[in-house]
């Protein structure tokens, strides 16, 4: 689009470039408020945590490769399995889907120049990074959380776990929750208010619907976890009695609050993946999504019903029968929105002209894995079967098909899909397809036998098992699969790294995608859109006339907004132009504030409450400076 622009358009673009340019170098990365650079920060940070969680998984699988092994000690095993869960959920999946993919793509897909609150966005990242480093400090000191990611009391209470291990967990998750909450609110505001004029809600890309659903789910689910962790810390540090039976407390309180967060969390994890699938499928099937409105509603509905099913994680705790039946019924209802989406994806593929390039292959794998994980998920709504197989490897199989198969596979496909957009270069297609088959094989081999070994009675979270129970061969297969999977993942990242330097130039739109991110150059300029794009359908980049209209607008200076950091805001439902917003520029305050908050948590961890107060006050000061109105720019 920027190609061979006539002189006047070129002037405007030059002015936009000067306005939106950020500081170069390392300092620029520390102070950036550009959603794309923040997304890249998220991306690289989450990949580091992914690697850590992956190494933990490989150690776990090595320990379990055969019976009665002692590769790691029981204590180390408990730390590894806890950190694997905590890392993959809180430090990888959520931050990479919301922080990296959501951050990069939502503004581009809705035709905005940034997120609604760019500095809050930067703060979210620095808080996330701080919480991750915080929890991994525990591991480095040999005091990593060790009561499982679900951290049930009383095992997680002082009498049974006197070290700092659980304090790293509880404070780390409170810390992490601040970051996620800030990010979620930012997405809600961005999606509701920053859509390009003309993008009424029914024309919004399904990826953004998914991110909207995720954000609402995060805002309502996280407080339950945060409160739970606050109770836990009050009991551990100050001797409160929330979970103490002798003083009228109840250990089940922890479980209820944890799963009130924990089940919506599952949908928080998979919804962005659904969003990625609904982005990739229309592009490679060369047609619009079948049943678009149904899919949008299903995405919102799954996040909503997901709040009413938490007790199916607790069916063996001895809840009243009527409670069991209520939650079982709700757990069955939550299946329907997912089946709608599965058939919508499949019908889009079959009625289109699908091109099975690497991204679509990953989506194919995703659909198969999601169906397997979904079918075994339905089984957990059958109460007696749930009560028989809960806390066995059958559950481990089920949720890895969901979390790895259904959430990570679309992510991997999405990495290939948007790689040309982010870097301006193409990935290597044949290696990409090879990496698909390898990860597909590895995933199947790792997680499918877990169903069987679970039915054979293998319980979860055991650091070893005895020979002769019929589990050995399956466990060995799982370990072999895990290493194949790791090899496949390494090939993916090698492909991306090499292609970033040596890939063929991609051009703005190598796949003929339908959403707005494909209408701008690759990589996108700082200001994203030289002119605020015209939108009249959910697939605006397929509306040629509208894109030509953009070029005319740029020429005439309509909606170029070249007077400062400006982006238009529109009305929530109809997407009519509402006002022009003045966006903040780069700032060191988010990283400074995050540092203060991190030090508050370090002080709390070490029980220096006065020090915590001092850093808390500093954080408030930083917030004050943050809200100081900056001088107008020209």
């Amino acid at each position: 689009m920027a190609v061979a622009a006539p002189p006047r358009a070129q002037d405007r673009i030059g002015r936009l470039e000067r306005i939106w340019e950020e500081r170069p170098g390392l300092l620029g990365w520390l102070t950036t408020v550009d959603h794309k650079r923040i997304a890249l920060l998220y991306f690289f940070a989450t990949l580091v945590f992914f690697a850590a969680g992956g190494v933990e998984a490989l150690l776990i699988r090595t320990q379990l490769a055969g019976p009665d092994q002692s590769v790691v000690s029981p204590g180390t095993y408990d730390e590894l399995m806890t950190m694997h869960g905590v890392t993959m959920i809180f430090l990888f999946i959520i931050p990479i889907t919301v922080g990296a993919f959501g951050n990069y793509l939502v503004p581009l897909m809705i035709g905005a120049r940034d997120m609604a609150f760019p500095r809050l966005n930067a703060l979210s990242f620095w808080l996330f990074l701080g919480s991750g480093i915080f929890m991994y400090t525990g591991l480095a000191l040999g005091m990593a959380p060790n009561a499982g990611w679900f951290d049930y009391v009383p095992l997680a209470l002082k009498p049974y776990d006197p070290g700092l291990n659980i304090d790293f967990y509880a404070l780390g998750l409170i810390f992490n929750g601040i970051s996620s909450t800030a990010a979620a609110i930012n997405f809600i505001a961005t999606i509701f208010k920053l859509r390009a004029p003309g993008m009424s809600l029914n024309r919004m890309p399904l990826f953004c619907f998914a991110m909207l659903a995720v954000s609402f789910a995060l805002v309502f689910a996280l407080p339950a976890l945060t409160i739970d962790c606050v109770y836990l810390e009050l009991q551990r540090k100050l001797g409160f009695h929330f979970f103490d039976v002798a003083s009228g407390g109840d250990p089940l309180l922890w479980q209820h609050l944890f799963w009130i967060f924990g089940h919506p969390e599952v949908y928080i994890i998979v919804l962005p993946a659904f969003g990625i699938a609904t982005s990739i499928i229309p592009t490679f099937a060369r047609r619009r999504m079948v049943a678009f409105p149904l899919v949008a509603i299903a995405e919102l509905l799954v996040a909503f019903i997901g709040f009413g099913v938490w007790a199916h994680h607790m069916f063996a705790t001895g809840l009243a029968t009527i409670t069991l039946i209520f939650f079982a019924a709700a757990s069955m209802m939550v299946v329907i929105p997912s089946t709608i989406q599965i058939y919508a994806w499949l019908m889009t593929v079959t009625t289109g002209r699908p091109q099975f390039r690497a991204p679509l292959m990953f989506i194919g794998g995703f659909i198969l894995f999601f169906v397997i994980g979904g079918l075994s998920g339905i089984m957990f709504a059958a109460i007696p079967f749930n009560q028989a197989t809960t806390d066995t490897y059958f559950v481990v199989a089920h949720f890895h098909f969901i979390i790895f198969g259904a959430a990570v596979f679309p992510l991997l496909g999405g990495m290939y899909y948007w790689f040309p957009k982010v870097t301006g270069r193409m990935y290597h297609e044949r290696w990409a397809q090879a990496s698909f088959w390898l990860t597909f094989l590895g995933t199947s081999l790792t997680f499918f036998p877990m169903h069987i070994v679970g039915l054979l009675g293998m319980t979860r979270r055991i650091y070893t098992y005895q020979a002769g129970l019929g589990w050995d061969a399956y466990n060995l297969s799982e370990t072999v699969g895990a290493f194949i999977l790791a090899a496949g993942l390494l090939i993916i990242f090698a492909n991306l790294v090499v292609s970033a330097f040596r890939g063929a130039p991609a051009g703005p739109d190598p796949f003929y995608g339908g959403t707005l991110e494909w209408s701008i150059p690759s990589p996108p300029p700082e200001y994203n859109f030289a002119v605020i794009p015209k939108v009249s359908s959910p697939y605006p980049n397929w509306d040629r006339a509208d894109r030509e209209e953009d070029a005319r607008r740029l020429e005439q200076g309509v909606l170029v907004l070249e007077q400062g950091h400006e982006t238009p805001a529109s009305t929530v439902l109809d997407g009519r132009l509402d006002e022009v917003l003045d966006m903040p520029s780069e700032s060191p305050l988010p990283v400074a504030l995050a540092l203060c908050v991190a030090l508050v948590f370090v002080a709390l961890l070490t029980s220096h409450y006065a020090v915590a107060g001092i850093f808390g006050a500093l954080a408030v000061l930083a917030l004050g400076a943050w809200h100081w109105r900056e001088p107008a720019e020209g």
């Binding site: 049930y152 599965i342 079959t350 009625t351 007696p384």
Partner: protein, 379 residues
């Protein structure tokens, strides 16, 4: 070793004529405790095949491994009425799941087959496509899920529910502790650990509590599981159709030795059970001359944590050892109960079961020999 369902059935029926009973000690070397006769397993397989031919066919074709090489903790090798209903539920759900999966694979394959072909006329067949989405994505699941709900969450649930107190003939109390199971028979003085003897074919009211953290009591071939939670009392129906040993394991993560917290249910003919219980309720016999030295060592070194009824040893930290010699295993099925293994355990419990509450006591070899002689005399 994975073998197909049919082959297994045939092989098993050959053996059924002379049911093998493998003694515990023979197999114990590998650490496993399995004992049920192959004939029983064949009978179960035959019955299942008769009732659910489709499931069995699918089993042979698609999942030959599940029932093929069960240890003693196999959900799909039910040995009681409630577990049979759970196992039926599974076969029905698995059949449905494979059918659902096949539909998805078919549609995906259809897409693959149509790759790179020109579009349908008008780019679409949109109405048909939306029709399929609504039909398969909404209508069919509603019908299937409703049926499953009624079947599993009303009918099967009833058969696995906690029993009413009047419908059972015996109550057994199980207390989960880090990391062993304390077993009590209310109305008698019998206390034991990690080994629950029950009369065969009798409905038993098992009452589960915990002394420390949350545990979960689960004997896969007899019933579902129940969590043992501080401040709560959960109950479950325990029954076994035929004599045998049924292995179970703690299912809720309970700390360092969660992996070594197993339990053995021994179902016996009622007369044998009554004899066993009567013996269990008795205090320990006075030590024989060869056990006297060991009894002294026990009182000096072990009595702070362990109880031996009829002696001055009254400790409550570890399991009651009054009739230790009658048990098949030590340390919650971690090692078999043989003199050499017992000696190893006494020498360094932390080597056998790292993190166990039992410390290495620094006993001399002579003391260990004496202790073993005494403990192995506690019949």
């Amino acid at each position: 070793m994975p073998i197909s369902g049919r082959a297994r059935s045939a092989r098993a029926s050959v053996r059924a004529a002379s049911p093998e009973r493998v003694s515990l000690t023979k197999r114990a070397k590998s650490g496993a405790f399995r004992s049920r006769s192959a004939g029983d397993a064949a009978e179960v397989t035959r019955r299942r095949t008769a009732r659910l031919p489709l499931a069995a066919a699918l089993l042979v074709v698609l999942l030959p491994l599940v029932a093929g090489c069960g240890g003693n903790q196999n959900v799909l090798d039910p040995q009681s009425k409630p577990e049979r209903s759970i196992s039926h539920l599974w076969w029905i759900m698995m059949t449905g799941a494979w059918i659902g999966f096949a539909v998805i694979v078919f549609l995906l394959f259809l897409g693959w087959w149509r790759r790179n072909r020109p579009g349908l006329p008008g780019g679409g067949g949109d109405r048909a496509a939306v029709g399929i989405v609504v039909g398969f994505g909404v209508a069919v699941p509603i019908v299937v899920l409703t049926l499953l709900f009624v079947y599993s969450d009303i009918f099967v649930l009833k058969s696995t529910a906690a029993p009413s107190a009047r419908s059972t003939k015996l109550t057994i109390e199980v207390v989960g502790r880090q990391w062993f199971w304390e077993v009590r028979y209310p109305g008698t003085n019998a206390v034991t650990a990690n080994e629950i003897h029950i009369p065969v074919g009798t409905r038993i009211n098992l009452v589960g509590t915990t002394d420390d953290v949350i545990h979960s009591f689960w004997v896969p071939e007899l019933n579902r599981k129940i969590d043992l939670i501080p401040g709560r009392t959960n109950r479950i129906l325990l029954e076994a159709d035929r004599p045998g040993r049924y292995r179970g394991q703690c299912a809720e993560f309970c700390g360092l030795q969660h992996a070594h917290m197993s339990v053995l249910v021994v179902a016996q003919p009622p007369a044998q059970f009554r004899a066993w219980l009567a013996n269990m309720a008795k205090p320990a016999a006075p030590p024989s001359p060869s056990g006297r030295r060991g009894a002294q060592v026990f009182l000096a070194e072990c009595a702070g944590c362990h109880e031996i009824r009829g002696t001055k040893a009254r400790g409550e930290v570890g399991p009651d050892l009054t009739h230790l010699a009658t048990r098949e295993t030590l340390a919650a099925l971690t090692i078999p109960n043989r003199p050499n293994d017992l000696a190893d355990w006494l020498r360094d419990p932390q080597h056998v079961k790292p993190g166990s509450q039992m410390p290495a006591l620094g006993l001399s070899d002579a003391e260990i020999r004496a202790l073993v002689a005494y403990l192995e005399s506690l019949k």
